[in-house]
Amino acid sequence: MAIVLTRSTGQEVRNPKLVRNSLILIVSVALLLLAGLVGLMSGSISIPAREVWTAIFHTSDSEARQIVWNLRLPRILTGLLAGICLAVAGAFLQGVFRNPLADPGIIGVSSGGGLAAVIVMILFPEQIAYLPITAFIGALAAAVIVYALSWKGGASPLRLILAGVAVNSLLGAAMTALMILNSEKVQAVLPWMSGSLNGRSWPHFETLLPYTVIGMIASIFLLKQANLLVLGDDAAKLLGSKVESGRLLIILLSTFLAGAAISIVGMVGFVGLVVPHIMRLLVGNDYRILLPISAIGGATLVIAADTAARSWFDPIEFPVGILLALLGAPFFLYLLRRGLKG
């Protein structure tokens, strides 16, 4: 086909989104750093910023060093990784399902991981060291079951969501049954169920780090595919994309990320739903910007909420997952009603 290119004489309109998106990116990085700093400073003992600095970069036996280096920093970094994993998984899933209500829970990650974790905690408490890996496998298995159930010459978003709802309620029922039959052991399960960073330290961070890095590298390769899938199955096929295999890869990656996160911090909900949703309202559907900004937003939200959860209710360590839902849900509703774009 011959292309006859004639230069338009009209004035080119500059892309106004570029400036806006750069600004949003800078602001969100600043907010993340701020959340990290405030997180290091606050808690049952307040430590001024300068002492935080000394505690991080100078080895000593001081109490500040103990608190900042051994307790707060690894906890914040674990929260950072968990937030990134959950928000990126949510952003991907909302795209491939073309549904703003999709989150890692929809494909069974939470219920599968949750059931596996509850089985370990209640039936095999002496094997508690294997909890993360069991929860991770449980999450993956549930997602595979959901995908397999929805397959009928292809896995349409609608069938995936329906299969997810069915599998979730089945696994949820099994989880509840286990807890009721072993009500004396439920106390140990509850913090994990609501998602908590309590007691998370360097080993947790070191476990989660490789999963996050691998997941982030893989997501770079799936950006283009996600950008085609949001156009709809037909449009993506017409652009020469292999829709089914692309969707499967994105679902697997999201399961991998969310499964890794919940195996370490428990069932932190809401981050995977609300962060990508808000970020999409701010920057639009282009995954090249939506994904990094969701990752930063997820990390910021988890760190900020955990800081609040452990300082506001001192001496009680409030599970961050509950606080996220308590504060996040009304804020989310407010945003939905207001409509960020006006």
Binding site: M1, N15, N227, V230, L231, A235, L239, G240
Partner: protein, 269 residues
């Protein structure tokens, strides 16, 4: 004339006993504008989706320039043929230009980004569809007609030889309908793009198409130039209506007068 697209003995049905399309044959020459018409449930949209390889025929083959499409790479097909679907994903918040850029996907390797000469094709596609002034707007801010043109611009960025359209004017008012049809005519005449279009408005079909294929119950019942096909008995046999057919400078124009028989609800797709 070269054959752009050939379909032979296509069959498709949801149940083994009932076929939506059966024994469908079609030859499309390159550069022609073909209109597919027929009543609801006649299988015309299903045929179009089989031609676009969105639906796999249960029997029969579709060939593009003599090559069986079932054996072709999906990107190779997307470089030569695309389709403007009837409705598109409505809630997409991306700029027109970003949408049109995605039309370059079949021409890019998996690691390549749309830049350099690909951006020039994007410029061209925006220009030819008169979307240049709106290129940095979000799809959400566009009217129905503008949005349709944005998706057409994406199709054009694929630089296809064949463009399929599935009732593209359904949701547009009459001025936007004609605007779109004129634009397609421009692409057909000046860029030499083969156009295959399913459409409901028979007068528009008569005015714009080179050739009409009429379908009923899953197969072709009439075929030919608009003036040959659009006769009084055609409207009676295919659509079950009485109609007067006038001649407007060589273009048949029809006026519906009434239903021949009470409409029985046949499987409406």
């Amino acid at each position: 004339m070269n054959q752009a697209l050939t379909a032979s003995e296509l069959k498709y049905g949801y149940r083994p006993s009932e076929s939506i399309v059966e024994g469908f044959n079609l030859n499309v020459s390159s550069g022609e504008w073909l209109g597919i018409v027929g009543p609801n449930g006649s299988g015309k949209s299903t045929v179009l989706r089989m031609l676009a390889r969105l639906v796999t025929p249960q029997r029969g083959t579709v060939s593009m320039s003599g090559q069986n499409m079932a054996n072709m790479n999906s990107k190779a097909i997307a470089r030569q043929m695309t389709m403007l679907t009837q409705s598109q994903e409505a809630s997409l918040d991306i700029t027109v230009r970003d949408l049109v850029r995605r039309g370059r996907n079949p021409h890019l390797k998996w690691y390549e980004e749309c830049r350099g000469k690909h951006e020039e094709v994007v410029d061209w596609a925006l220009q030819v569809t008169s979307m240049r002034a709106l290129q940095h707007r979000s799809l959400l801010e566009l009217s129905g007609g503008e949005r349709q043109r944005a998706w057409l611009a994406m199709c054009m960025a694929q630089t296809p030889c064949t463009l399929l359209l599935d009732e593209p004017t359904t949701y547009l008012d009459i001025a936007h309908q004609l605007e779109l049809m004129e634009l397609i005519r421009l692409l057909n005449r000046e860029q030499g793009i083969t156009v295959i279009m399913v459409l409901h408005d028979l007068n528009q079909a008569a005015r714009y198409c080179d050739r009409i294929v009429a379908m009923k119950q899953g197969s072709v019942v009439r075929e030919g130039k608009p003036s040959e096909v659009f006769q009084v008995d055609f409207f009676r046999d295919v659509f079950g209506i009485e109609a007067k057919v006038h001649n407007d400078e060589g273009v048949p124009v029809f006026l519906p007068c009434g239903v021949v028989r009470p409409l029985v609800h046949e499987g409406i797709t």
